[in-house]
């Protein structure tokens, strides 16, 4: 380490630091260092001064070399995904870690032995390929193997499932490369459902300063459209690169590749996102249109809904999905199937990872599908085009719950239909595992001649209950949430009525005060014929209000008394008139679960690591459980946030930066903040749709306390809603401020934040009578 001349350099750095605290600009830094002779030009290198390009970030780069072997491994073999090589009696076996009773994101096959006589097909993919919700009992790999062996003879084919839940692009290529050790006759690649903004290397929501800055530059240069186009192009480039690596690996051994173009649930899935800041009061006007359009749909006024949707799309320039979803719903109701399909596809394509606040599902956009088709053309892969296959099979251009348990994961029929053309290609010979030159069966023939895969009704029921749970967590619905959840609950009961008990156990799990997995209910469930696994949502720490309602309805429709039982259980655990609760501090009592759950896929620090809850929609709802026998006290501490910009310009007001050599120098924002006009408005509170009170709110925290009469409450679960005033009309300023932050590598919101709640406490009103028969 050099012993740099400490005194002169320190003096320079002290001075520079003082300047930078006032004006944290890269230009100032560069100019000062250059002027002092401390920085010499170095032409062109990335990250060098003046190059304008951020340094490459390691996180997004493909591995340049195969991963190195740890010293304990036998020479000549390397791991394949989580399967580790072992040599026993001169034979190689790849062994995965112990399989958990609760499942994990990999195939549960314990060992993969050396190839024997059967033709070996390696299936590489994501959770769709893994058979999410049905695995390990039924998976696309099992279906494919059954189809192949039914046609080509028992034991003729072996399908090795190397799928991994949440698989991403370059790990996928590593799996393909390492899987060459298994000497496959063909690869089947089933991906595209995880190709979201996290693969795009430009996003305001990924906590990598260079990615943010890249997004901001595009935003500044060409607006939202340019930023979206950049994200799409970078993703396609990355996907093309990954497919090139797959092709190279396969070509080295002349192994054919079948690539599956994924289809998604267009009919039954909806996506709701916060709208981006729009010019002037555009965001507020957009939300007003949205409310009206959804009301029109509810009243079956479809033409009016279409008109409002057009206005929404004109305002948001197609950057949000809601306008398209309203169109799709209205067109469908009007019997205009092709228009509905086009709108639903546009809804999926509005994913444009870069501008979405929450992770958008489904993610297999038209661009993703086209990338895979293009890879097929370029590299000679056989392409199985599921959009065409499902459309041909159903005669419907809007695939829905017949094939999908959620936005992209497949039902048993979905798996069967999806894998039949793969089997056909493999048997035909263009997938490499068939008999060359012999015309094979068509996928329609395979479907007709292959018996349905065997499936225990209990397994089917658990998967369908899992579909309800998963949809409750992931569906960002405009209209259909309750109906879809209820559908899956009813389907589960129809498949195997005994699952009713598992449904009650699920309620117990949600009421558990400790680790749900260690609860009595979990122990009973795991020992039953309907064991829920992690993929079925066993472990979520949320009350799951919408799911509980769907369970009640489905159970009662089958004549099973449920509502009173479930309400009683909720009251025992959560009634606020028995034990006061803070409703806003954690995600547990959040009504809309995606607000709590989807943050894990985005910038956690920006969206979640905060002391206060932030509302990104005009209304925020919470679960309020009460006995209904006592009046309640509600105390709200909330504020209306300012646009996050002032703190990025501390030179205007910071004593810290002008008084470096003293200690205890103070910075008081409340007095000298030069910022946009302070927000002000009225926050309204309601319980079960009944107005409870109002709070005049501003940029500072305000507190209010209200009495909720017992008559406004129902025993058990109630919906408490905070309605926020419209966002500021300074839409341009907000977007500029966001871009400035992103350019500096800071997190920023591209959408309005309507309000923040530091505390929302519910308890029994002081002096109110205790619920009858309960402790005071």
């Amino acid at each position: 380490m050099d012993d740099r001349d400490p005194d002169s350099l320190k003096t320079l750095c002290d001075e520079l630091a003082r300047k930078l605290m006032r004006n944290p600009s890269r230009q100032l830094l560069e100019m000062t260092l250059r002027h002092s002779g401390r920085l010499r030009p170095a032409a062109g290198a990335p990250g060098s001064p003046g190059s304008g390009e951020p340094s490459p970030q390691p996180s997004s780069q493909p591995p340049s070399q195969p991963s190195s072997q740890p010293p304990s491994q036998p020479p000549g073999r390397r791991p394949i995904s989580i399967w580790q090589p072992r040599e026993v009696n001169g034979e190689w076996t790849f062994v995965r870690p112990a399989v958990s009773q609760l499942g994990d994101g990999y195939c549960q096959r314990r060992e993969i032995a050396e190839r024997k006589t059967a033709r070996r097909i390696c299936l590489v993919g994501e959770s769709v390929a893994l058979g999410f919700l049905y695995a390990p009992h039924l998976t696309p790999a099992l279906v494919l193997e059954q189809q192949l062996n039914a046609l080509a003879g028992a034991g003729s084919h072996e399908v090795v499932d190397l799928s991994k839940s949440s698989e991403s692009l370059f790990p996928l290529t590593e799996t393909v490369e390492s899987a060459l050790q298994l000497e496959p006759d063909a690869f089947v690649i089933f991906v595209g459902n995880n190709w979201n903004f996290q693969e795009s290397d430009t996003s305001p929501y990924i906590p990598v300063p260079a990615f943010r800055a890249r997004f901001a530059r595009a935003l500044r240069q060409g607006g939202v459209a340019a930023a979206r186009a950049l994200g799409r192009r970078l993703l396609q480039d990355k996907a093309a690169h990954a497919m090139q690596l797959v092709a190279k690996a396969a070509a080295a051994r002349s192994i054919p590749v079948v690539v599956m173009v994924p289809e998604v649930n267009l009919a039954d899935w909806e996506t709701r996102q916060p709208v981006l800041w729009r010019s002037g009061d555009g965001a507020a006007r957009w939300h007003a249109l949205y409310e009206r359009a959804v009301s029109c749909l509810a009243r079956a006024e479809y033409e009016a809904a279409l008109e409002l949707a057009s206005q929404m799309l004109a305002l948001d320039e197609g950057t949000g999905p809601s306008g398209f979803r309203i169109q799709a719903t209205a067109y469908r109701a009007l019997g205009r199937a092709e228009d509905a399909a086009r709108a639903a596809r546009a809804e999926v394509d509005s994913d444009v990872m870069a501008t979405m606040c929450y992770l958008h599902c489904p993610q297999a956009t038209t661009a993703v599908q086209e990338s895979l088709r293009q890879a097929g053309r370029e590299h000679g892969f056989t392409v199985v085009d599921l959009p065409s296959v499902f459309a041909a099979h159903s005669g419907d251009s809007l695939p829905g719950r017949r094939y999908f348990v959620d936005y992209c994961h497949l039902t048993t029929e979905g798996m069967t239909v999806a894998m039949a053309p793969v089997a056909a290609a493999l048997l035909r010979g263009d997938g490499g595992a068939g008999v060359a030159g012999v015309a094979g069966p068509t996928w329609e023939t395979i479907l007709a001649s292959t018996p349905p895969p065997p499936l225990a009704p209990e397994v089917d029921a658990v998967a369908k209950l899992g579909a309800a749970i998963h949809s409750a967590h992931r569906l960002q619905a405009l209209t259909i949430k309750g109906e879809l959840l209820e559908h899956w609950c009813a389907q589960a009961l129809a498949a195997s009525p005994g699952i009713a008990e598992a449904m009650f156990e699920l309620v117990e799990l949600r009421c558990s005060p400790g680790p749900a997995l260690l609860s009595r209910a979990a122990q009973r469930n795991l020992a039953s014929r309907y064991p829920l696994m992690l993929q079925h949502g066993l472990q979520w720490q949320n009350l799951d209000a919408e799911l509980l309602e769907a369970l009640c309805r489905a159970l009662e429709q089958r004549g099973i008394p449920a509502r009173a039982r479930i309400s009683r259980r909720l009251i025992e655990s959560f009634a606020v008139d028995l034990v006061p609760s803070e409703l806003a501090a954690s995600g547990f009592f959040r009504w809309e679960l995606y607000e709590a759950l989807f943050a894990d896929a985005l910038n956690i620090d920006q969206s979640r690591h905060r002391a206060a809850y932030r509302a990104v929609q005009p209304a925020s709802s919470f679960c309020l459980v009460a006995t209904g026998e006592s009046d309640l006290e509600l105390t709200l501490c909330a504020r209306l946030p300012q646009i996050d910009r002032a703190i990025d310009h501390p030179n205007e007001h910071s004593n810290e930066h002008s008084n470096d050599h003293s200690n205890g120098h103070s910075n008081d924002h409340s007095n000298d903040q030069a910022a946009p006009a302070a927000p002000a408005g009225v926050v309204k509170l309601e319980v079960g749709g009944v107005p409870i009170g109002e709070l005049s709110c501003g940029a500072s925290w305000g507190t209010a306390r209200w009495r909720v009469p017992a008559t406004a409450l129902r025993p058990g679960l109630n919906k408490l809603t905070v309605r926020w005033p419209p966002p500021t009309a300074a839409g341009e300023q907000a977007l500029v401020a966001a871009a400035e932050r992103l350019e500096r590598g800071l997190a920023a919101d591209l959408h309005p934040v309507f309000g923040e709640i530091f505390s929302l406490v519910a308890g029994r009103w002081p002096g109110a009578a205790a619920p009858v028969g309960r402790p005071p």
Binding site: D3, K10, R38, D104
Partner: protein, 589 residues
């Protein structure tokens, strides 16, 4: 006056609340986030502190931050300037502390920024109860200072001299820690534990790395270091000097490694002792307060207490950056009120959250774990636990409010008998899953401490080592050099814990028990009863006391270990270790 103290954005982010001069609450973010050493703005600890004080953000009069961003930026620029590369301003981000206090905590009022070492010094002096004292702070680096010398006098605290970066005792120690294959900023205490196994054969070469200078000054032999720009902290010259390549993590520990650890510890202690003597001469006080991460080196503390010129030594129990928030808050109180916040000594650190008896009862009822409910039957509980300890069992002990700082002191502890011959091996390998050379510390009844340890004063925070002089055979707590790191337990701070030890004493004649932190390797100490239950299963503890409830391992459902392991892994496969710090290098950001 409500003052929030904050230390954050480097490692061990923490928050405290000083309410009208009373330290009401303090906690580290890692205990809530379960991310070890979590450096992020401590939003959950902040919420906890406000809740403990019954406050909302608008009730806060001032937030005190433990560092000066501008001075830190100056040092960071200095470290990053090179001929052809512009320092990465986005990464240094000097406005981050204020921005995150505003945005993440939602706080709009005044913020006081205090220098890093001044915060350390204040966290020691203002909580010492001394009317005047010399104050020594030593760590890796904060802003420019790496070591500071100060004087506390009544309400005032004055910094007299400092040693500036890159010359740093903390970085010297961390560099050799890294060379020895341990994690920087985390595993220094392991090196300290390894040292007694070696001989000081490498002291002379190491003195080329840390060169004492007149007064309080010293220098590093910079040719042996590379922590400014390299991927590791040491240079090739160090390997040449020591004649051995660096040890790979997990590789066998040889005699050379043990000798190096011992030599490192010796050099550290010698320099600290020398500088403590200098400080005593300069200040003229018989009382010493110590802070900074190096003050967690309890072996050095012990030597300073025994061989140094001071009659009284106070080491702030959260001496590292964790405790910086205490100092900042105390400085803010001094600034705004004109007087120090208290004249009293900090006697306990039970400042964190607690799980109520009712909450524990609900948790256990829900799991169906057959726990014995011993509410109102304390004597029976203590007798039962003491008996189990006597029989060689290892027991989780969860009581009251969580401790603040790195040490478990009887609130979130794993306990065992020191009389059991192989207890140390069992604890290290099976329970804590850590290196076999690491010793365990005892908790001893204060009035019996002098019978078993060469210790003539209270040591309530387990921050100093001394020789074991007991007539009892105490293999569980006696290190290879005959030393131990006792916690003296009095009636005031931990009455239930003390009652347990008394019962153990009555049964065995031994007034001390092993006390180690309630966690497994690479996890933060447990905060809630739920986490204690999970940790019991993970660590295969023989029994667990949650408040007044006793659980025994044999009674737990057989499926629990598997389920808990699955919970750790999650749906996406085998668990990846979560740690918030760079393991090979100080990041300096």
């Amino acid at each position: 006056m409500n003052i929030i103290g904050l230390s954050a954005l480097y490692h061990d982010a923490s928050c405290c609340l000083l309410k009208d001069g009373e330290l009401v609450a303090a906690a580290s973010e890692e205990r809530f986030s379960r991310l070890k050493f979590d450096p992020r703005m401590p939003v959950q600890a902040f919420r906890y502190c406000l809740e403990a004080g019954g406050l909302l953000p608008t009730d806060i009069d001032v937030v005190a931050y433990y560092e000066s961003p501008s001075k830190k930026l100056s040092r960071q620029l200095w470290a990053q300037v090179s001929d052809h590369k512009l320092p990465d301003l986005a990464r240094l981000d000097p406005l981050r502390p204020e921005r995150e206090i505003r945005e993440r905590l939602g706080y709009l009022g005044p913020i006081d920024f205090f220098d890093h070492h001044l915060s350390h010094a204040a966290s020691a002096y203002y909580f010492s109860g001394f009317p005047e004292a010399a104050v020594l702070t030593v760590d890796g680096v904060g802003e420019w200072a790496t070591t500071s010398y100060g004087r506390g006098s009544g309400d005032d605290l004055e910094q007299l001299e400092e040693v500036e970066f890159p010359h740093s005792i903390g970085l010297f120690y961390s560099t050799i820690t890294s060379y020895l294959g341990f994690r920087v900023n985390s595993d220094e205490y392991k090196v300290m534990g390894l040292a007694p196994y070696g001989k000081p054969t490498l002291v002379e070469p190491l003195r080329q790395l840390l060169i004492s200078q007149p007064q309080g000054q010293f220098r590093l032999g910079l040719e042996f270091f590379d922590f400014l720009g390299g991927p590791r902290m040491y240079s090739q010259r160090l390997c040449e000097l020591l004649g051995q390549p660096a040890r790979a993590r997990g590789a066998e520990l040889t005699t050379f490694h043990k000798d190096l650890a011992r030599s490192l510890q010796t050099v550290l202690e010698d320099v600290l002792l020398e500088k403590a003597r200098y400080l005593a001469d300069r200040v003229g006080s018989r009382s010493l307060c110590m802070g900074g991460g190096v003050a967690l080196n309890c072996v050095a503390n012990g030597r300073i207490a025994r061989e140094g010129p001071f009659a009284r030594v106070f080491v702030q129990p959260a001496a590292g950056d964790t405790g910086g928030c205490l100092g900042a808050a105390a400085l803010a109180h001094r600034k705004h009120r004109g007087v120090r916040h208290t004249q009293k000594r900090l006697t306990h650190v039970c400042l964190g959250p607690e799980t109520s008896t009712e909450q524990v009862a609900r948790l256990l009822a829900d799991t169906g774990a057959p726990a014995r409910d011993l509410r109102g039957r304390d004597e029976e509980l203590f007798d039962e636990v003491a008996g189990r300890l006597e029989r060689g069992q290892v027991i989780g002990w969860f009581q009251g409010r969580m401790e603040f700082g790195p040490r478990a002191l009887g609130c979130r502890s794993i306990l065992a008998s020191p009389l059991v011959p192989d207890i140390r091996e069992r604890l290290n390998l099976l329970i804590k899953k850590r290196e076999d050379f690491r010793p365990f510390a005892p908790s001893v009844l204060a009035e019996h401490a002098a019978e078993h340890f060469a210790l003539d004063h209270a040591s309530p925070f387990m921050l100093e080592t001394c020789q074991v002089i007991s007539k009892l055979a105490l293999p569980g707590i006696t290190h290879v050099d005959g030393s131990a790191r006792p916690q003296t337990v009095d009636e005031h701070a931990h009455p239930r814990y003390r009652a347990l030890i008394r019962r153990f004493h009555q049964r065995t004649g031994c007034p001390l028990i092993i006390n180690t932190s309630f966690n497994v390797a690479d996890e933060p100490i447990v905060c809630t009863a739920e986490e204690a239950l999970l940790c019991m299963v993970k660590a295969s503890l023989d029994a667990l006391v949650l408040d007044s409830f006793l659980l025994v391992r044999e009674d737990l459902p057989e499926s629990w270990p598997h389920l808990v392991a699955t919970l750790q892994g999650g749906y996406h496969g085998p668990a990846s270790k979560k740690s918030a710090i760079e393991e090979n290098l100080y990041t300096f950001v």
